[in-house]
């Protein structure tokens, strides 16, 4: 394997640090030793073919998947130990899903306030005030009382982002947030994500949106067969890729 390109870390403070992460499902090894550091305020975009392990890697960070081996630290705290309070941990890690997964029986406001009330322990008024603020940030203040079924896919995903952001996490994980959306609804979600980055949020994004990766990422990570094949600036990885596999991938994605 050729030497990895030099990596520029924009901030000295590391928020997420992954070392030697392995994950197997039965006999199938999906992650074969992943090392990754993400600095504060950095936006890292993980790309790669489907089945390369990028979603699994992301889901290990808040332990929706249980790592088989390796250590993960978030905000300096190791999250893979047996004594970790998972609920406390997850409160500090926001997640946005490909399938969106809004609670269908709750309004947009109710979706955002639930964890604020039951996890953070805010009172009703304070939680609603905060939720309305975050709905405002994603441009949906006027939809606070709508149920998910009354919103478009793009609006639903923006509520999903507000739901995670309202907990003021240290890092936001985006797991293919636009893959389930109609093409004309993708832009509004990406715009909100750009805004999230501008607010200084640390972000790890798994996506197939190459334009987003090129324009917004501080660093692009290319995963292949459960390992990181290359990482670097969008320019290095997506515009002038050194690896044939990445060149093929970029061609196919006609980025």
């Amino acid at each position: 394997m050729t030497a990895l390109p030099a990596v520029t870390v924009p901030s000295p403070e590391t928020i997420v640090s992954i070392e030697g992460l392995r994950k197997s499902f039965g006999d199938v090894e999906v992650l074969r030793g992943v090392d990754l550091k993400v600095g504060k305020g950095e936006a890292v975009v993980i790309v790669g073919s489907s089945g390369s392990g990028k979603s699994t890697c992301l889901r290990c960070i808040n332990r929706l998947e249980e790592p088989t081996a390796g250590t993960i630290r978030v905000g300096g705290q190791e999250i893979t130990g047996p004594k970790v309070d998972l609920n406390l941990l997850r409160r500090r890690i926001g997640m946005v899903f490909q399938g969106i997964h809004l609670y269908p029986h709750k309004t947009a406001l109710g979706n955002v306030t639930l964890a604020l009330r039951k996890v953070v322990g805010l009172g009703k008024e304070e939680a609603e005030q905060k939720a309305r603020h975050h709905l405002g940030v994603v441009g949906l203040a006027h939809k606070a009382d709508s149920y998910p079924a009354q919103l478009s896919g793009g609006q639903q995903q923006r509520v999903g982002i507000a739901r995670a952001m309202a907990l003021e996490p240290q890092v936001m994980l985006f797991d293919e947030p636009t893959s389930a959306l109609d093409p004309e609804l993708v832009g509004e979600v990406l715009n909100v994500m750009v805004r999230t980055k501008e607010m200084g949020m640390t972000m790890i994004v798994v996506t197939h949106e190459m334009k987003f990766a090129r324009d917004v990422a501080d660093r692009v990570v290319f995963m292949d067969h459960g390992a990181i094949l290359a990482e670097g600036t969008p320019q290095e990885i997506l515009v002038n890729p050194q690896h044939q596999r990445i060149r093929d991938f970029v061609m196919r994605s006609h980025g």
Binding site: L64, N87, L88, R90, P104, A115, K118, A149, L151
Partner: protein, 224 residues
């Protein structure tokens, strides 16, 4: 036509029996309500316990629901009344009937709730847990509200079906509505009492059906 009226709608014959009929009706109402308010929450409790995945407990629960869904309610009532005394448990006919029916209803409602729990997308759990909600909080605030909503129509069917089993209480001499009205039928040699019984059953179950339809309507998620 005259004969039909004379046989089935000769209400004059019943003048002496109205208090008995009313008492029978009230007993039927009471038994139905008790069966539902014991059986359905018990079924929900079993479904929740099953969700925690404690192996030996789940075997017990599955045996319980399979057994009580298979055995005829009549047999169960007879066993509860005539067999339990040998184990030192003597039950009133009323209690034995309600107990048997509530257990059967709990077994059926457990299956309905369990199917509902499995029908809620896995992503709902992940969304809840990813915001720091505990397993139990996710269950209580996100999963169960959805499960209960989708379970109302099948639960209604099952609750009505099993509540009608209160008439089986007559085999252990519970003076419920069917028992009373069929006795009257024998006494006056006229089936009008059964007509009254049937009308009273309608009076009991129709509002119940209407009520659950209304619940379904209220709980329906708004659709665009």
């Amino acid at each position: 036509m005259d004969q039909i009226v004379r046989y089935f709608f000769d209400f004059g014959l019943l003048s002496a029996y109205w208090p008995d009929i009313l008492r029978g009706f009230l007993i039927t109402v009471e038994m139905s309500i008790l069966t539902v308010v014991i059986g359905i929450p018990l079924g929900l409790l079993l479904a929740i316990l099953r969700l925690y995945g404690i192996r030996p407990l789940n075997w017990l629960i599955i045996f319980y629901i399979d057994f009580f869904r298979s055995i005829p309610q009549l047999v169960l009532i007879v066993l509860a009344y005539f067999a339990l005394p040998y184990f030192g448990l003597v039950l009133e006919p009323f209690t034995a009937t309600v107990l048997a029916l509530a257990i059967v209803l709990s077994a059926f409602s457990e299956e309905i709730f369990w199917a509902g729990i499995n029908a809620v997308a896995k992503g709902q759990w992940e969304a809840g847990r990813s915001t720091g909600l505990s397993f139990t909080q996710t269950l209580a605030y996100i999963i169960l509200p959805q499960v209960v909503r989708m379970s109302i129509p099948p639960l209604t069917n099952r609750a009505i079906g099993i509540s009608k089993g209160t008439t089986l209480g007559s085999v252990v001499a519970v003076p419920e509505l069917l028992n009373v009205t069929s006795s009257i039928q024998s006494n006056v040699a006229n089936p009008t009492a059964l007509t009254v019984g049937a009308l009273l059953f309608l009076l009991l179950f129709l509002p119940f059906v209407r009520f659950t339809r209304w619940l379904e309507h209220v709980y329906a998620h708004p659709r665009s």
